[in-house]
């Protein structure tokens, strides 16, 4: 556990350093921000504002400190990034909430469809495999069309577009693990001993623990990539739309702060996953 904690701290430090290298060191961002026709004075003022004239170590310390203290400001709006992030996050919560509901509803339906009958399973599997490949921006545009035509809630449709792939991922993983668990020697022995349904259900939950880890990892991936696209298509001014806009107009302070926050979020999620697996599956407890 101690080694894991130390490793996590180093992972965060390296993650922040990687973001810093990516946005502030590798290419000279001043020219890209200023554009091809900018004069020397404009480029110089941008360099000053982005701390690009300072030595690398000082620049890194300034940026990290400003991010942690919440002083880092957007290059274009001059508003504190953290406050802006909170405001945008509030807007995105509805979409994320709908997305989560749809993930479990769709995922549950797909699992039920595959568990009920073998013939249905084949069709559900084929449908899932086909739909899973269709990019989120195509399904989102079709759902936007549906929401405009039939007056459906924009947030609900955006949540549905966001939920399609994770729900398929969740259902296929859960079905696979249920099938594996049913055939596992310890399950067969437990069944032969005539263990009750509740005990068997608890055993099944142990087997399903990794599925939730996969889901949460996929969620963070899709909430970032999918939310940006879905909010852009539906015109929702949330954190995804803001992040996409910042990336396109190279608002480097926003990109740096968001990537630092996300690094922290991913490490926190990893710890949360470990705790969930620890709680759900007693066999994993000795691993930490």
């Amino acid at each position: 556990m101690f080694t894991y904690a130390v490793k996590s701290v180093f992972v965060i430090i390296f993650g922040v350093m990687f973001s810093f290298m990516l946005f502030y060191v590798l290419p000279d961002p001043a020219y890209r921000v200023a554009g091809g026709f900018a004069d020397k004075a404009t480029v110089l003022s941008i360099r000053k504002k982005l701390h690009l004239n300072e030595p690398i170590t000082k620049r890194f310390v300034t940026l990290t400190t400003d991010t942690v203290m919440g002083r880092l400001e957007s290059f274009y709006t001059n508003q504190p990034v953290m406050i802006l992030a909170m405001v945008k996050l509030k807007v995105s919560f509805t979409v994320i909430g709908f997305g989560l509901i749809f993930i479990f509803v769709l995922g549950g339906l797909l699992v039920a469809g595959q568990v009920i009958s073998r013939r249905l399973k084949k069709w559900v599997e084929m449908l899932s495999n086909t739909v899973a490949v269709v990019p989120v921006f195509i399904s989102a545009i079709l759902l936007l069309f549906a929401s405009t035509k039939w007056g459906l809630s924009k947030n609900a449709c955006a949540g549905l577009a966001l939920a399609i792939f994770p729900s398929i991922l969740l259902s296929s993983n859960v079905v696979l693990r249920i099938e594996e668990a049913k055939q596992a020697p310890h399950t067969l022995v437990a069944r032969a001993f005539g263990l009750g349904k509740i005990v068997m259900f608890r055993r099944m939950i142990h087997e399903l623990a990794p599925s939730f880890v996969i889901l949460s990892n996929a969620l963070i991936f899709f909430l970032i990539a999918g939310l940006a696209v879905v909010e852009e298509i539906f015109g929702i001014p949330g954190i995804g739309h803001w992040f996409l806009l910042s990336a396109l107009r190279l608002d480097l302070p926003v990109l740096f702060a968001v990537s630092v926050l996300l690094s922290l979020g991913v490490v926190a999620l990893d710890i949360f996953n470990k705790i969930i697996v620890w709680l759900l599956d007693p066999r994993q407890r000795n691993a930490y």
Partner: protein, 264 residues
């Protein structure tokens, strides 16, 4: 015996058929995708323009097909770079493990995975510009953090096998164990991941085009879909042709590659 050969042949032909459909989708360029026809603006699909025309009178199907081909080329190059970089990184990891300094290299690699790949890819594409190599580098950076982990896992799983332990015990040189034994076991599995990851990268390339990482007037399938979004009710072919081509292309390549790797 004859039945087996016939079954194998049928399976090969089915796999080949998937790829043939994919190749056909790439070469549906019946007209010049860049040619502007002011007299043929926003025409529905016809024999001359099977996918209809856009606001500048350009062939929508030709543009979508050329864009899809460009996506395949960019994603393929990015996949090769990412795979090569993953193999090099894993060789370094193995060398570091030999001198008990693996953490020095593995922790930064783990840290790469904490920064979400879409953020990295999008920011890199924006910083490097929407050039061909900018997109390739961005896509390679999206793929690399996960590919390196998969390659590491496969190599470690191969190294743990009993006959590798045996090879070590009889004193075979390390490089020979890696090349002749670990390589032959891990390579097919790594290729399996790389082929399926390639389809994901094609979708990501289209996504980058969709959010504006393009260089007009060069055709980009993602940009075609984005530009058609507002006209979906009035001029549906503008959206449906590139969206269907991309969706069918991804499904076909995914199914073909899945069949191919499952056979292996």
């Amino acid at each position: 015996m004859h039945i087996d050969i016939r079954i194998n042949m049928a399976a090969y032909l089915r796999t080949l058929a998937w790829f043939m459909v994919g190749v056909i989708l790439c070469f549906l360029v019946l007209n010049d995708p860049m040619k502007i026809n002011p007299n043929m603006v926003l025409r529905p699909p016809s024999l001359t323009f099977p996918g209809g025309t856009d606001r500048l009178g350009r062939d929508v199907l030709a543009r979508a097909s050329a864009g899809f081909r460009a996506s395949l080329a960019v994603a393929g190059t990015a996949e090769v770079i990412s795979l090569g970089a993953s193999l090099v990184a894993n060789l370094l990891l193995l060398l570091m493990a030999k001198v008990r300094l693996k953490a020095l290299f593995s922790v930064p690699l783990l840290a790469l995975r904490t920064v979400p790949p879409f953020l990295t890819g999008l920011a890199l594409a924006a910083l490097l510009g929407a050039t061909k190599w900018g997109l390739i580098f961005a896509l390679a950076m999206i793929s690399f953090p996960f590919e390196v982990a998969v390659v590491e896992e496969e190599i470690n799983a191969s190294i743990r096998m009993p006959h590798i332990e045996g090879a070590k015990a009889i004193g075979l040189p390390y490089y020979m164990i890696l090349l002749r034994h670990v390589g032959t076991i891990a390579a097919p599995r790594i290729m399996r991941y790389a082929l399926l990851d390639f389809v994901g990268l094609v979708a990501f390339e289209a996504l980058l085009g969709f959010v504006g990482m393009t260089r007009p007037p060069a055709p980009s399938i993602g940009a075609e879909i984005y530009n058609a979004g507002p006209y979906i009710a009035t001029y549906p072919w503008l959206f449906l042709v590139p969206a269907l081509l991309l969706a069918v292309g991804l499904i076909v390549f995914n199914a073909g590659l899945t069949r191919l790797v499952n056979r292996r």
